[in-house]
Symmetry: C2
Subunit: 437 residues, 2 copies
C-alpha cells in the first residue's frame, strides 16, 4: 500500500492550519506523501520506520547558501566584510576554485545539510555545474544559481561572458534532474551593472526560473548605490522592472519603508540570514515588518565562511531571538512562525511551495525525523518551542528526500562522509601550504 | 606515571598566552592536570584516551543556571517577561516544586550540561539542597546559591526565614563535597529589600562565598528602582557596599557609564546570558564596554525555561554574533575572546580561576574532548572559530571532571540518562494533567 510508512511520530505538518498530530503516521508512495493520520497506522507498507515518539516534520529549506564555501569555513573570521571579502575570500576563491574543488566543497556542504535536516537549498555560486553534480549525487533538492558578477570569477575569466555562462547552465540543467532547478544568482547591485542585472533576470524570465540577488546587505552598499543612482538597491531593482514573484532578495537588511512597500507590491521574496548578518555586523533585517507587509521571508544560513555552519536549527534559534531583542518585544516571531519560515515560507520564498515545505498529501516526501529522546528536548511542553529553541542538527535521525531515505539513524546513505571530509581537509591543507589564510 | 593520559589532541589551553598545541598530550594524576606537551606522549599511563585529532579544551563554565527549571522548558514561551514569570513560571513553581521534583529537574540539567561539555555551573534556585544532591551525584562542579526572595518561595513558605534557610544551606555544604561551593543567590533588587540583600551578602562574607544577584536585567527594573531609590540597581548595590570581587551580577543589561565604572572599581563580576536576554527581549548587555573596563564577564545559559537549552556552545555563538551586530563591528568579541569567556573568564567570574578554566599543570582536570571528525568542523582553518561558530554540544565526545571520566564516547557514566528523562517527562505530564501550562 505504501512504499514507506513512518509511525509513532509527533507530526508537525506546517500545513495552512499549522496542525500538529500528537501520535501519527505518514505514508509515502513513490516520491510523494500519500496520506497521514493518527495512530494506529495502516498495515502493509513495504518499509516501516518507527519514530519512537520523535518529531516528524517537513525537510528544512535553506534559502541561501554558497555550497563550495565550506572550503573556506573559518578561514578568516572576525574581520570587516569588505576586508574579509577582498583580502581573504576573493583571493582564496581565485587560487583554489576549480570544478573539482567546487564539487568537493559542495559535496561536504550537502552531507552537512542532510545530516542536520535540510532537504532543499537555494544556492548561488560560481562553477555551479560542479555544484549541481554534487547536489545530484547527494540526493538533495535545490535551486542552483549560476553566479554572475562583473569581475573575472572562477570559471568565468572574462566577465563579458558571465550571462552566456549562466544561460548555458540554465539550459543544461532544465529538466535534467527532478530535484534540481537551475537559476541565476547576481552577486549584488554593486558588483553587477544595471545591464547585467537586467540580462540575468531576462534569462530567468525566459525559462521561468528564480532570480536571486544579494541586496541591501550593508549600509555601505546602500550609500554607494544611492550616490551612483540616486535610489536604494531595492529602488534600483524595482525601477529596472526586476522585482516579481520569482525574485529572491537575499539579506534585505537596509530597507526603508518605501523598499518594503515595493517588495510587497511586486510580490518579491526575501531570504533572511540572521547568523551571517550578525557575524559580519551587516545589521538587522526588518523581518517583522516584511512579514507584516505580506512578504514571504525564508531563512538561510549563508555560506559556511560567514556562519560557520549550514545547520538551520541554530538559524531558527537566532532568528527567533534576534528579532525579539531588536524589537524589544518577546512576542515577535514566536516559535511556530519561525518553524514556518524554515519550512513552508522558505519553500514559498524560492517558488517551491506547491511541492515542498509542509506535510500534506500530494507533496514531495521530503521528511525529517528528530530523535526527541534526548535531555535537551525533555520535557516537551510545546513541540515548536523544542524545535526552534532547543533542538540542534545533531538531533536529526532520519531524512527522506522525494521519498528516498538519504539519512538513516544519523548515517548518510548517499555520500561517503569520510571521503567528503578527507577531500576538503586535503584542499584546506594545500591552502595552508601555499600561505592562503 | 599518569592515571589518565589523553593523546593526539589539538589542545586549546586557554592559558594566559592562549597557547594552542596542534598535536599534544595531557596527563592527569588524581584530580589534577599533571603535565601537557607536544606529541609523542610519554608511556606508562594507567588509562589512555586517544583523541584522534579532536579538540581538547577546558570544561566549559556556565555562570548562570536555575537547574530545576528544566521542568518548565518550553512551558510558556514568546511572552513578555513579567507575564511569563507571574502567570506561568511562579504558579508552576508553586504547584510543582518540592525536593524530589527539584532534584529530578536538576539531575536532567546536570546530564544535559555534562553531555554538552559544561563541567562547572553557578546556580541559583530554591530547594538548593536538593539541587546540590543532584550535582553531587552527577559528578559536576558547581557554585550553588540558595535562592532568597521576599515572597513565599518553594521550600521557604515564610520569607522572614529566607536568610536563615540560606545560611543553613551554606553551613551544610561548606566542605562537604570538594566539587561544590555553597553560595547565596538573591532574586533581584526588586524582589529583595535592601535589608535582605545586605543580609545575604553578610552570609557570603562570613563564609567567604560568592554572592549572586540578578541585576539590571530589564529596563522596567531600572525604572522601578530609580523611582523607589533614586539610583540604578547597580548604584543601589554599590551604595549598600555589596559590590566586591565575590559579587556576581547576573544579566547586567541596563548599565550606564557610572554603573560600569562602579562595577570595575569594586572588582565585581558579570554573568552574561545572551540567549535569555534576547528571547525575553530584555536587551543587549554592554559586554564590550564591560570587558574594556576590565570587568571579568562569563557566559551563562540562564534556566532552561528561558533559553531553552543548557548548551554553552550556542551561547558562545550567540555572544560572538550578538555583540558584533549590536556594535556594527565584526571585530568585536573575536572567537578567541568568546572561548575565554566560556572558560577562564567564566571561572574568574565565579571565583574559581585558580582551580579551573584553563589547561595548566596543577589545575583541576576538568576536560572536554570534541570529536572534530564531523562535516561542520571540517576543514579547521582556525580552531577557536570552529569551537565558537560551528561546534555544538553534540560534538562533545568525552568529559572529565576532577580527573574522573563522567562522559565517555557520548555516554554519561554518572547518571542514568533514560531514567532522568523519564522522571522529568512524568512530572511534566502531571503538570499538563493538572492544567499547568
Amino acid at each position: 500500500m505504501y512504499d514507506t510508512l513512518i509511525q509513532n511520530a509527533l507530526i508537525l505538518t506546517c500545513n495552512p492550519a499549522g496542525e500538529v498530530v500528537p501520535a501519527g503516521w505518514l505514508g509515502v508512495r513513490s516520491a510523494t506523501i500519500a496520506a497521514l493520520g493518527r495512530m494506529p497506522a495502516p498495515a502493509g507498507a513495504a518499509q516501516v520506520i518507527d519514530a519512537g515518539g520523535g518529531i516528524l516534520m517537513p525537510g528544512l529549506v535553506n534559502t541561501h547558501t554558497h555550497l563550495p564555501m565550506t572550503l573556506f569555513r573559518g578561514l578568516a573570521d572576525d574581520l570587516p566584510l569588505e576586508r574579509w571579502l577582498r583580502e581573504h575570500i576573493f583571493p582564496a576563491e581565485a587560487a583554489v576554485l576549480n570544478p573539482a574543488t567546487a564539487r568537493s566543497g559542495a559535496l561536504l556542504a550537502c552531507v552537512e545539510m542532510l545530516l542536520s535536516g535540510t532537504t532543499t537549498c537555494a544556492d548561488g555560486y560560481f562553477l555551479e555545474d560542479a555544484v549541481a553534480g554534487a547536489v545530484e549525487a547527494a540526493g538533495l533538492r535545490a535551486v542552483l544559481g549560476q553566479g554572475v558578477i562583473d569581475h573575472p570569477a572562477p570559471g568565468v575569466p572574462d566577465p563579458a561572458g558571465n550571462l552566456a555562462v549562466a544561460r548555458r547552465f540554465c539550459r543544461a540543467w532544465l529538466g535534467r534532474c527532478p530535484r534540481i532547478r537551475p537559476s541565476v544568482f547576481c552577486h549584488s547591485p554593486l558588483t553587477c551593472s544595471p545591464e547585467t542585472l537586467a540580462g540575468a533576470k531576462r534569462i530567468c524570465r525566459e525559462f521561468g526560473l528564480l532570480f536571486q540577488v544579494h541586496a541591501a546587505e550593508t549600509r555601505a552598499e546602500v550609500e554607494r548605490i544611492r550616490a551612483a543612482h540616486g535610489t536604494t538597491p531595492v529602488g534600483l531593482l524595482d525601477a529596472a522592472g526586476l522585482l516579481d514573484e520569482r525574485t529572491l532578495l537575499v539579506h534585505a537588511v537596509w530597507l526603508d519603508e518605501a523598499d518594503i512597500a515595493r517588495i510587497a507590491a511586486r510580490g518579491a521574496r526575501v531570504s533572511h540570514c540572521p547568523e551571517s548578518n550578525m557575524k559580519l555586523a551587516s545589521g538587522i533585517a526588518p523581518v517583522a515588518r516584511l512579514r507584516a507587509a505580506g512578504v514571504p521571508v525564508g531563512l538561510g544560513t549563508d555560506g559556511a565562511a560567514s556562519n560557520n555552519d549550514l545547520d538551520l536549527f541554530p538559524a531558527m534559534d537566532f532568528a527567533a531571538k534576534l528579532h525579539k531583542v531588536a524589537g524589544c518585544d518577546p512576542t515577535v516571531l514566536p516559535a511556530e512562525a519561525v518553524l514556518r519560515m524554515a519550512t513552508i515560507e522558505g519553500a514559498r520564498a524560492i517558488g517551491l511551495e506547491d511541492e515542498i515545505g509542509s506535510l500534506e498529501p500530494g507533496k514531495q516526501a521530503d521528511l525529517v525525523l528528530l530523535d526527541a529522546r534526548t535531555p535537551r528536548l525533555t520535557p516537551m511542553h510545546r513541540p515548536a518551542s523544542a524545535v526552534v529553541y532547543a533542538a540542534c542538527g545533531a538531533d536529526v535521525r532520519t531524512v527522506l528526500v522525494a521519498g528516498r531515505v538519504v539519512v538513516r539513524d544519523r548515517t548518510a546513505l548517499t555520500v561517503d562522509v569520510n571521503s567528503a571530509m578527507d577531500d576538503v581537509a586535503r584542499i584546506a591543507a594545500g591552502m595552508r601550504a601555499r600561505g592562503i589564510t
